[in-house]
């Protein structure tokens, strides 16, 4: 059996909205997060962060800080460099510039918020007090404040990155000029998506405990990738991996922000090793806004050419990513714009495309992964341009998409980038959205509102989403990472099942959904299955990221279950006097296929394997525990669409989202209510990104939006009810036909909301290409158009 093999699982519990078993602990406040970890002798760390965006430390004096009450240790970058030379982040592709980020900066400082010293004390408050006593003298260097400045290369943001360029790719350069010259309609725009923070409600945190007597390092991390950080910590800190454990407690949201190895995590380990006591680092919200990996800031200069029927002739996109000062581990700057252009054409037939990406460093906090990663920017540009093309040609936005989306007869379709697309309900999605919205009724309402001086707009977005991301998808995205995931399935003597998985959870409900998979693998009730996760002692996995956990869960559990099922079938066949390949498991029974009466209870067969040697066939290994890996054989594509109806008040610039719609095709859903929860949460984040959220750096490279007063997260008032419809195209690469979908709403709903704002203002000749579409920006656009009253 190979790691891409697909075990057979018949859905029974899969497809049911089983209520989540993790809820009672969360609802009663009894579930423990990393900030709740209290260990004997534990100390608390606080990091001093650079107030300047670019420069050098000329002197740093920690003597006063070290002498303060409760303070046990104060380190600078120099102290740390002796122990760890930094965290290297690179990608094995020609021309890519890797970077090494110091755990604490001791030479060049490259962004405001970069850690430059750490104080460890008996309480966090005392550690913070000590930071105020550290005296630092800086020498300022010129600041590279944005990608425009970075491109000129007049100054370097990071001395180790020549010309501020981490990576350039002209990934695809078809001849598009001919198409543009012949086009019946050409549209173009320069779309700027904002720099945002994933802002999980729980900020980051890490506890390290080094036990000197056994030379073991136990860590608790609010992470999405425990095994990855365990291996990387072992390598970067030169620590024996077999003595390193990373435990993942309950995590309060991740969204990709917690899918990195953070400098503070390495720092906490070094501190604990030095002190021989547990060290806890729990960041607060300000620190999170300042220093947690940021995301989404791209400039997409995109153009599309259409024929007179609205069919796409060509697309051109040049995307520039503002990567901040360093690559982050493991994704690097490629996670943003560069990944995005690789899927920019996917739902549509695009005969010719010219796609290039620039990934540039600036003096800002480094970017990393955030739900939907680099896909969001180009999708936004593309969908708004489709709307513009529709308007130019007098076609409806639904019709222009119908004329261009991939259809059954196109499969398999090889995109210009080389992505082979074999399935997808793109056309059905367009039709479904149009029906959900009742487009003619909307047009009437829009026209009537305009007469009253009110501006309603409709935005659409059709998307495809690579899910279940494994090695093949990572390679397609020019990130040649090999992913490695296993699950261990054990059938207990009383016929219950325990599964140990490398997947962790940050709210997605994996304790429940993976149990549903395992239950169906053996045809037993979901209550008879328990999922063990959260310690690297017993599990191996790449991480809970990239819409992969349902797929990887099903794949690994499927393969491991099959290895155990073989044994159960063998003994059952003997007991039932049938052939092993006639044996099936369902409804808690092990029986002959098509003859449920000829069977035995699951627990009875299992009991026989454990306790009744006489029932075993010859050369029988009775171990009912197996571990298997799974890595999808190909890219697993989910698809769907979003629509938004907004009202823009052109007098105040305020935008209200009136309604949202989502269509989701993620194959066979494990737990429909969980799927809908992922969509609703992602839509809220999409609304936030388009209307509210923006990390703003001033001319001195200072983060102006460093509190939640200024960084505006969407609230219950900002997010309307969301109507959701489901389609189902099962994947034949995954047991039970399951696909992933966790990022879908952030890939696509921003485009729908942005498109709706543009649609509302199109009649005034106004386009909005910079987001968030804040009241100030709308006011400026309306004023410029001379339409304000």
């Amino acid at each position: 059996m190979g790691k891409g093999d697909v075990a057979y699982i018949r859905p029974k519990s899969i497809g049911v909205s089983v209520p989540r078993r993790e809820d009672p602990g969360l609802l009663t406040g009894r579930a423990r997060y990393v900030a709740d970890i209290v260990l004997p002798d534990m100390l608390h760390a606080a990091v001093l962060r650079s107030p300047i965006a670019h420069g050098r430390i000329t002197s740093i004096d920690v003597s006063a800080a070290a002498a303060m009450p409760g303070v046990v240790l104060v380190w600078t970058g120099r102290d740390v460099r002796e122990r760890c030379s930094g965290l290297p982040a690179t990608m094995d592709i020609p021309g890519f510039v890797g970077t090494v980020q110091p755990v604490l900066a001791d030479d060049e400082i490259c962004f405001a918020g970069e850690g430059i010293a750490v104080a460890v004390a008996t309480t966090r408050a005392l550690a913070e007090d000590a930071l105020e006593a550290i005296v630092v003298i800086f020498e300022d260097y010129p600041i590279v404040g944005d990608v425009a400045a970075a491109k000129t290369a007049e100054n370097l943001a990071n001395a180790k990155v020549p010309r501020n360029l981490l990576y350039y790719s002209d990934r695809l350069s078809d001849d598009v000029e001919t198409a543009f010259a012949q086009a019946a309609a050409k549209v173009e725009g320069c779309f700027r998506t904002p720099r945002v923070n994933a802002s999980p409600m729980e900020p980051r945190g890490f506890v390290a405990r080094y036990e000197w007597t056994s030379k073991t390092l136990t860590c608790w991390s609010a992470t999405q990738m425990p095994n990855l950080i365990k291996t990387l910590l072992a390598i970067f800190l030169n620590f024996p991996e077999q003595n390193l454990e990373v435990i993942t407690p309950f995590v309060g949201g991740g969204f990709g922000q917690k899918a990195h190895l953070h400098t503070e995590e390495a720092l906490a380990c070094l501190l604990s090793i030095e002190l021989g006591r547990p060290v806890s680092w729990i960041e607060d919200r300000q620190e999170n806004l300042l220093r947690a990996p940021q995301a989404k800031q791209q400039v997409n200069e995109m153009a599309m050419a259409f024929d007179s029927e609205g069919r796409i002739l060509a697309m051109r996109d040049s995307v520039t990513t503002d990567a901040g000062a360093y690559n982050t581990i493991p994704w690097t700057a490629l996670i943003e714009g560069h990944s995005g252009i690789l899927v920019a054409t996917d739902p549509y037939r695009v005969p010719a495309a010219a796609l290039e990406s620039f990934s540039l460093v600036t003096n800002k906090c480094p970017i990393g992964a955030y739900r939907g990663v680099g896909f969001t920017g180009p999708v936004l540009a593309r969908e708004i341009l489709l709307d513009r093309g529709a308007r130019a040609l007098g076609i409806s936005p639904f019709e222009i998409r119908r004329r261009n989306v991939l259809r059954k007869e196109d499969f398999p379709y090889v995109s210009r980038v080389g992505h082979t697309i074999r399935e997808g309900t793109f056309l059905e999605t367009v039709d479904k959205l149009e029906a959900m919205i009742d487009y003619p009724a909307f047009l009437e309402r829009q026209a009537a509102a305009r007469k009253e001086g009110r501006y309603l707009g409709l935005g659409l977005s059709i998307f495809s989403e690579p899910t279940g991301i494994g090695t093949r998808t990572m390679h397609f995205l020019d990130s040649p990472i090999t992913s490695h995931d296993t699950a261990t399935v054990r059938v207990e003597p009383t016929g219950k099942v325990t599964v140990t998985t490398g997947t962790v959870t940050a709210g997605q409900g994996h304790h429940t959904t993976l149990a549903q998979i395992a239950a169906d693998a053996f045809g037993i009730p979901v209550e008879d299955v328990t999922i063990n996760m959260g310690s690297t002692k017993h599990s191996v996995g790449f991480g809970t990221v990239a819409s992969r956990s349902a797929v990887i869960g099903a794949g690994t559990i499927g393969r491991a279950s099959e290895m155990v099922r073989v044994k159960i079938r063998a003994v059952a066949a003997r007991l039932l006097q049938a052939e092993p390949d006639e044996i099936e498991m369902s409804e808690g029974m092990v029986h002959v296929r098509g003859d449920p009466g000829r069977g035995m209870p699951f627990a009875q067969v299992v009991g026989a394997i454990y306790f009744a040697d006489a029932t075993h066939p010859e050369d029988f290994d009775p171990a009912l525990e197996a571990t298997a890996a799974y890595d999808p054989a190909d890219i697993i594509l989910a698809n769907g669409g979003h629509a938004a109806i907004v009202e823009v008040d052109i007098e105040t610039g305020l935008v209200r989202v009136e309604r949202m719609y989502a269509v989701e095709d993620c194959g066979k859903m494990i737990n429909p209510v969980v799927v809908e929860g992922q969509i609703r949460g992602g839509v809220a984040q999409g609304i936030g990104m388009i209307l509210l959220e923006e990390l703003i750096y001033d001319a001195n490279g200072q983060l102006v939006t460093a509190t939640l007063q200024d960084y505006l997260l969407p609230t219950a008032d900002d997010v309307p009810d969301i109507e959701i419809a489901h389609l189902e195209t099962p994947s034949d690469l995954v047991p039970a036909g399951i696909k992933g979908m966790g990022e879908s709403a952030m890939i696509s709903s921003p485009a729908a909301v942005a498109g709706a704002v543009n649609d509302a203002l199109a009649c005034l000749g106004i386009t909005i290409e910079q987001f968030p579409a804040s009241p100030q920006r709308i006011f400026d656009a309306v004023s410029a158009a001379g339409k304000s009253r």
Partner: protein
């Protein structure tokens, strides 16, 4: 961040509180904490002592007089929002209170605390200025009454001298009909701009007008030109629009990442117009 270290005292009487503040110029009174504690959490302020006013009963009592209400400085926004005296006699305040933060903050945040904090984007300073309230201050061996026009001196700046405490606010009642309009980025957040408009209409004409602006400058601003335009006129769309334009014209508005001066001025014109139109249609 964690709060910086400070001493704490919870006096039982006003005199005790005033003495503590007089003895230590770096001590601060602690009212509801909804404005002070976030500032301390960001380590932008580090008082040596917090003097908790919560036990001082006299600061929490309100008295309804014949022509005015005296509201204790430590009365919470939630209590004022529930007050029948206020909803019937100072309806502007009731309307504006709906925009103040969120329920949990209104449960603890106090009227006096909000006024003493004097955030330019806060609703209560605008309300008190619009209603010509008087702030009653107590210091060690001193008492004085400061009218709103002399009390709000700038963003986070009031006439309260070191060692003084705001103890109560006197607000006269009036015969005007009031409308309050606000634009904020989000519900409950500090305002980008606010307008409080009061009109008294007799025989179809405006006999008295009050137009007060908040959030646009560093303190509440009276739009006298707009008021003058309204008085003596029948209020219609054109009059409202002109009043709005006059309110915004020449206004020195503040500028920040959320809103520049031009946008704020534009908002003023819109909000004043909308408030006047609501009143002219008898809407609430």
């Amino acid at each position: 961040m964690k709060f910086p270290a400070f001493a704490y005292a919870a006096p039982e009487t006003l005199d005790e509180a005033v003495d503590l503040l007089a003895d230590d110029p770096d001590a601060r009174p602690l009212a509801g904490g909804q404005s002070l504690m976030p500032i301390m959490a960001l380590r932008l302020a580090a008082p040596t002592m917090l003097v908790d006013l919560d036990r001082i009963g006299t600061l929490k009592s309100s008295v309804a007089g014949e022509n005015s209400l005296r509201i204790g400085a430590m009365v919470t926004h939630a209590e004022n929002a529930r007050s029948l005296d206020i909803s019937s006699r100072l309806p502007l305040m009731s309307e504006a209170l709906r925009h103040v933060a969120h329920q949990a903050v209104r449960n603890r945040g106090t009227f006096g605390g909000s006024l003493a904090h004097a955030d330019a984007g806060a609703e209560m300073p605008l309300v008190v200025a619009a209603l010509d309230g008087t702030m009653l201050l107590r210091g060690k061996g001193s008492e004085r009454a400061v009218p709103a026009s002399d009390f709000f001196l700038g963003h986070y700046t009031t006439a309260i001298e070191p060692g003084e405490l705001l103890v109560a606010i006197d607000i006269p009642t009036n015969d005007l009909q009031w409308a309050f309009e606000e634009v904020a980025r989000r519900n409950g957040y500090l305002a980008l701009a606010m307008a409080a408009v009061g009109l008294c209409v007799e025989d179809g004409r405006c006999a008295e007008a009050r137009v007060m602006l908040g959030g646009v400058s560093d303190r509440p601003v009276r739009a006298a030109a707009a008021e003058a335009h309204l008085v003596g006129r029948a209020v219609d769309e054109a009059v409202a629009r002109e009043a709005g334009r006059l309110a915004a014209s020449g206004l020195e508005a503040r500028s920040d990442t959320n809103a520049d001066a031009a946008y704020r001025r534009s908002l003023v014109a819109v909000l004043v117009r909308r408030a006047i139109m609501r009143l002219s249609k008898g809407e609430r």
